[in-house]
């Protein structure tokens, strides 16, 4: 049971329209090296825009490179290419949070960054950790590098390396990850995550972005292609139009990266959003987010690429009913479509606000989705329970059957850890506990129980020195 929004004919139409955009509307690409690479491969240029011949794009799409993530603890393995279910990850790069102790909205500090990494590490249904908070008590110039250091120190799981916005910062991000792995070659063989690069929409690769693609693809590190178009503002108003433009942005990115290095693994992401058409605010309150993620899962699969899509998204600013139903509506379609990675643990207000208690609640939601909805159903005699039905009909009940006990132990029933399912009288006699209070308590329990940095002291010290070096280079004292 895989949800596929498009027919084969739809997919072919989308692909053909994408090639037509790349060939006839072209792409704004700056950056000397990127332009030279594309032009010498057969692209043409007119008035500064680069036009992609279809054959070149089709060729770049051949032989997609398989990708597997390895945790900071290398025994934790996420095979993205052959994934049978969707992996989850948290939000990234948010600098404001809803404090779970005080209920106040405040700026994130380094301590919060560590806590969120440890929380991500502790939640069993969160697969990949993304550097989440952008602390305001470290200098702006080294904030992204700090995010990588503090996150990687505090988890055993696979970790995204960060977002490349200029070459100085990107070099440092790679140095941090390579130091943990014990060298760049080891990092290439066992990547812990990707480096994300975002072109502008519509179809615009400024010099820093185009050069970052050339540099990172050259190293052979896996890249997340991360255009973020907004329907009606920087992409067509229609969902399918937005998806096609986004696809053109992906394939322009892919063609450039593949021309630099055929063995560069790439992840196809969907960040297609919509805006409030009265204020221009892009705020998450949109049932199309989940559907667009399902569409991209199918399009990416058509190209043989792993996908990363929105899931746990909401416009709400607290973990409330709105947050709950919007998350459910947006997370279900990509999970049913088997998107490779689904984002958004802990995210509120369309990605502007972070919440630790929401992280814990999302762990529960994702657990429920992964219980069965996000997996293939198996049918065989034992699962059907042919023999047990016959036995019970001869006398007895299902409770006293080994079949019942065995399948219960195998997890046939969802055993939730959070939320109320008590008879209401008992719930009332316990003082009417609510999910937020429960989640807040759980946050503290998990943080108290976390063993601290997984990396040894020497390695932690090396990472601190890298951060110090970056500080010396860029931050005025």
């Amino acid at each position: 049971m895989i949800f596929e929004p498009f027919s084969q004919k739809d997919l072919e139409k989308i692909h053909a329209a994408t090639l037509e955009i790349l060939e006839q509307a072209g792409v704004i690409i700056e950056g000397k090296r990127a332009r030279e690479i594309l032009l010498s491969a057969g692209c043409t240029e007119k008035d500064g825009r680069i036009y992609f011949p279809s054959g070149l794009v089709e060729d770049a799409l051949k032989d997609p490179v398989p990708l597997t993530f390895y945790g900071i603890d290398e025994s934790i393995v996420l095979p993205l290419t052959e994934a049978e279910r969707s992996y989850s990850h948290n939000f990234g790069s948010v600098s404001v949070l809803l404090d779970h102790e005080t209920d106040q909205i405040r700026e994130a500090k380094v301590k919060d960054m560590e806590d969120f990494a440890r929380l991500s590490d502790s939640l069993p249904y969160l697969d990949l950790v993304v550097p989440s908070l952008r602390a305001t008590d470290i200098p702006e110039e080294i904030a992204n590098i700090g995010m990588a250091v503090y996150t990687m120190k505090n988890t055993r799981k696979p970790v995204d390396i960060g977002t490349a916005s200029d070459s100085w910062e990107t070099r440092y991000l790679i140095e941090v990850a390579a130091t943990i792995r014990g060298g760049l070659d080891k990092l290439k063989n066992k990547p812990m995550g990707t480096i994300s690069i975002s072109p502008l929409s519509p179809l615009n690769f400024p010099a820093d972005i185009a050069e970052a693609i050339v540099d990172c693809a050259g190293l052979g590190l896996p890249l997340t292609m991360l255009p973020c178009p907004t329907r009606g503002l920087t992409a067509p108003m229609t969902l399918v139009g937005g998806l096609v433009q986004q696809n053109a942005e992906q394939l322009a990115f892919l063609t450039l990266a593949k021309l630099v290095n055929r063995s560069c693994p790439l992840v196809y992401t969907c960040r297609l959003a919509s805006a409030n058409m009265r204020t221009g605010f892009v705020g998450g309150k949109d049932p199309d987010l989940g559907l667009s993620g399902a569409c991209v899962a199918q399009v990416a699969r058509y190209y043989g690429l792993p996908s990363g899509v929105y899931g746990m998204d909401t416009g709400a600013s607290v973990p409330d009913i709105q947050s709950g139903y919007e998350r459910a509506i947006n997370c279900l379609p990509p999970v049913l479509a088997r998107a490779t990675m689904v984002s958004g643990f802990g995210l509120l207000n369309g990605g502007l606000l972070a919440s630790a208690e929401e992280m814990v609640i999302d762990n529960e939601i994702y657990g429920m989705l992964m219980h069965r909805l996000g997996r293939d159903l198996e049918v065989d005699d034992e699962i059907i329970g042919l023999e047990v039905i016959k036995a019970v009909m001869d006398g007895g009940n299902f409770l006293a059957q080994e079949h019942t006990r065995d399948f219960m132990r195998k997890g046939e029933l969802w055993q939730g850890k959070l939320g109320n399912a008590l008879p209401f009288e008992e719930w009332r006699s316990r003082g009417c506990p609510d999910i937020r209070a429960e989640a807040k308590e759980k946050v503290n329990q998990l943080l108290d129980a976390h063993p601290g940095p997984y990396l040894d002291e020497k390695l932690c010290r090396e990472l601190d020195l890298i951060l110090e070096k970056a500080r010396d280079e860029r931050v005025a004292r």
Binding site: V96, R134, L200, R278, T279, G280, V282, L352
Partner: protein, 212 residues
């Protein structure tokens, strides 16, 4: 005359670029003063659009199309009007900070400010602190709008304001900051006079700051 001007007004309300131009040309051919075409035709049309927006009937694309229809017509009329008749309105300089190439939020604000009668000078995107400050000085702006979209670039807003102070220009201009990751606290922290979460409240905030 009434009928022709009503047709100009209607074309603006409908956000029809070509038709607005055609109706404006007809009005000029009929001998109507260009300044009257602007005030009784185009501007009145835009007021209706503004009202419809306030009432919730119109959305941003309706506003944008109407504003573009009007701007196209004004470009056509401008050479026909005597300099002395042109009323500039309060001057605002606006741009997106250095390192940030996002323009659409800023463009919505510009459209709204122009519709509210402000004389807006757009510095574009990736604007250095020095360029902002120089524009404030040279254009004698009453208002400066500083836009930034990304958590990684909002810091630049403070740099612009610090440079204004350094050059002794801070007291001469009201500063408003905008961008999705911002808050009132942020505006205070960077030393701005105000912040608005969206373009509509931005116009209100600027008027409030200027005591208009």
């Amino acid at each position: 005359m009434e009928k022709v001007l009503a047709q100009v007004k209607e074309a603006v309300i409908e956000g029809k670029r070509e038709e607005t131009l055609r109706r404006v040309a007809e009005a000029v051919e009929a001998g109507i003063e260009p300044s009257l075409v602007i005030s009784k035709g185009l501007t009145e049309g835009l007021y209706v659009v503004g009202d419809k927006f306030e009432e919730g009937e119109y959305f941003l694309p309706d506003m944008m199309l109407a504003a573009e229809a009007m701007n196209g017509a004004i470009d056509y009329l401008a050479p026909l009007i005597k300099k002395s008749e042109q009323d500039g309105g309060v001057r605002m300089v606006i741009g997106t900070v250095k390192g940030d190439l996002h323009s659409i939020g800023k463009d919505i604000v510009i459209m709204m400010m122009k519709s509210a009668g402000f004389d807006v000078i757009d510095l574009g995107v990736d604007v250095s602190s020095a360029t902002f400050v120089e524009a404030v000085r040279e254009k004698e702006a009453a208002v400066l709008g500083i836009s930034a979209l990304m958590t990684t670039t909002i810091q630049e807003q403070k740099k612009v304001i610090d440079l204004l102070k350094e050059k002794g220009l801070r007291e001469r201009v009201k500063v408003i900051v905008g961008g999705a990751p911002l808050s009132e606290e942020w505006a205070v922290k960077v030393g701005a006079d105000g912040y608005a979460p969206d373009a509509i409240s931005g116009v209100k905030k600027v008027k409030e700051m200027l005591g208009l």
